[in-house]
Amino acid sequence: MKVLLAEDSASDRLILARLVSRLGHAVIEAEDGTEAVDLFRETQPDLVLLDALMPRMDGMEAARQIKALAGERLVPLIFLTSLSGAGDLARCLEAGGDDFLVKPYNRVILEAKINAFNRMRGLHQALSDQRDHIRRQNQQMLDEQRTARRVFDNIAHTGCLDAPNIRHHASPLSVFNGDVLFAAQRPGGGTLVFLGDFTGHGLPAAIGAMPVAEIFYGMAAKGFGAPDVLREINRKLRRILPVGMFCCGLMVEADFKHNSLRVWNGGLPDGWLLRAGGDRVAVPSRHLPLGVQEPDQFSASMTVLDAAPGDWLVMMTDGLPEAPNSGGESLGEEGVLSVLAGLEAGQEPFEALLARMQQHTGKPELADDLTLCCLQMVRAEAPEAMPDKIPESALTGPADWRCVYELREQTLADFNPLPLLLHICMEVPGLRSRSGEVYTLLSELYNNALEHGVLALSSEWKTSPGGFSRYYQERTRRLGNTDGHFIRFSLEHQPREGGGTLTVVCEDSGDGFDFTEYSDTVMQQQAASTGRYAGRGLEILRRMTRNLKVHGRGNRVEIVYDWWFPDAAIISGA
């Protein structure tokens, strides 16, 4: 050890220096405080022995300066003093001294003190090394998380979270706290949103989030509805997550055409439907979280809610009600509810909740493990063609073909053929840019055949207040008996200069309906005033196609749909 010894009395200095060097330490000698500080700076000693009373600069001041120079390094500083008053000795320690040694010096005590401080120094060094190590590791982990986040973003892009009717708060690193938030436009209109909260933190939670993102965006783009997506996520998570890890989640499928919301909540705090009129409807958790149950036990049954443009659906992870304030108290679900109950007409729930959270926590930034999303119902718009450029791979593929696909019996209840049929059509070069329109055509034909043909449901229920829920219940009940029924799709595609023609015939085994009245109105080239038949979707089909024919007893509908390449594609595709 290097020991700095500052003592103005030459004889005392000599005695002490000899004592210390006999203990095996190197001694650096200073005659006063100023020299002690200078030598400290030059030689970086490990321990300092300092006389309290010295000329030029006394020990107290030297101690302050030396401690300041040492910074984070622990340099034990022992005062040498002939003072014996308690107040004087205390001042030595207040000035930064770690201990004192009273003259005359006792060799045994000096040795014991030097050894004790040497041990303390070693301990301090070990702690500092470990702290630096942890700091480096933490920095490395944060760097890795940022990189991983970029990979994750490429899979779980923001989807349509930036749509004007969606407000959300999700921290950029929230995925490492187990929170995920996805939103996608469904082909043919409507929005699908999923908010999830994995158990655990860090890497395991983030890894679990990856397949959920892939499944969500992949299936949503193909036209699968919420129950199918949920079943698939549950199946996947059940298989890949270790027992004890799972994902609480809330999925909502907003249907702007029928003004309805279908919601599934498994383990998240209550979601809330806030009607423009001021009503509040809770959407409590009714299911086990995702990844807990085997696929055959999993229930994807959705709660159906009637909603109108302007209504909000609010969903959140438990980080929001559980966020602590400085006193450790959380807002609680009651606190959330009181914010929602206090909303004024036209006030957005998102802003109000965030403002309340900031007030509660006293911090402008919200924690990473808190995700909030509000979805507003809007008026249905015509499905938009995707404006994206057509990738090269979309310009080769089958263009001239015909296929027949028939669903029978129980399969009518168990299986949704739309993603499959859409997939077949999307193989046609260039038609992918029209996936929204094609999905709408197929789904209107299918729903018409299933609901009004096979199940003989009355579309008038859907127009009455609260009727959609009743309609939906009846639909589920009647799906229990589809004996002897079928729906048959015949699809045909032919290429044309600059585009193609898709012909779809949809037949069903139902009793049909009185369509003569409908045909009459079609012949009169009427405006969109056929309110009575709007439920049959025929009006939408008529507007989107070149030709619509209703045959037989009304249970055979044929459409002819012409489409063209977007301008840019004609050049490269010609």
Binding site: V243, G244, F246, C248, G267, L268, P269, S285, L288
Partner: protein
């Protein structure tokens, strides 16, 4: 000790009591409590009389116990929950997997 276990006289029922916070910090001792139990144990009782708080990692631990005890055939009852604990169990719909009394 935040976790205590006791066995019934016939050796068939293992009762695990969790004291204070039931969260990730009790992970190892909770596992030890049932993994080292006798093979004669066929029924588990989780006594939460003295549990003040329960988080999602505790839910995960309950699922691990359920798996250990035979999955769907497991006989596990969760007893004496306070209202906060009860609320967390019911948000996650754990009454479908455990008998909660």
């Amino acid at each position: 000790m935040p976790i205590e276990t006791r066995r019934s006289d016939d050796g068939k029922t293992l009762t695990i009591c969790v004291e204070g916070r039931f969260d990730f910090s009790t992970h190892q001792s909770f596992r030890d409590a049932y993994e080292h139990s006798e093979p004669t144990v066929s029924h588990y009782v989780i006594d939460l009389s003295d549990t003040t708080y329960l988080d999602s990692s505790a839910l995960g631990m309950l699922l691990l116990l359920r798996d250990h005890a035979g999955g769907d055939g497991a006989r596990i009852s969760i007893e004496n929950c306070n209202s906060d604990v009860r609320r967390i169990l019911s948000i996650s719909n754990f009454e479908q997997l455990f008998s909660i009394r």
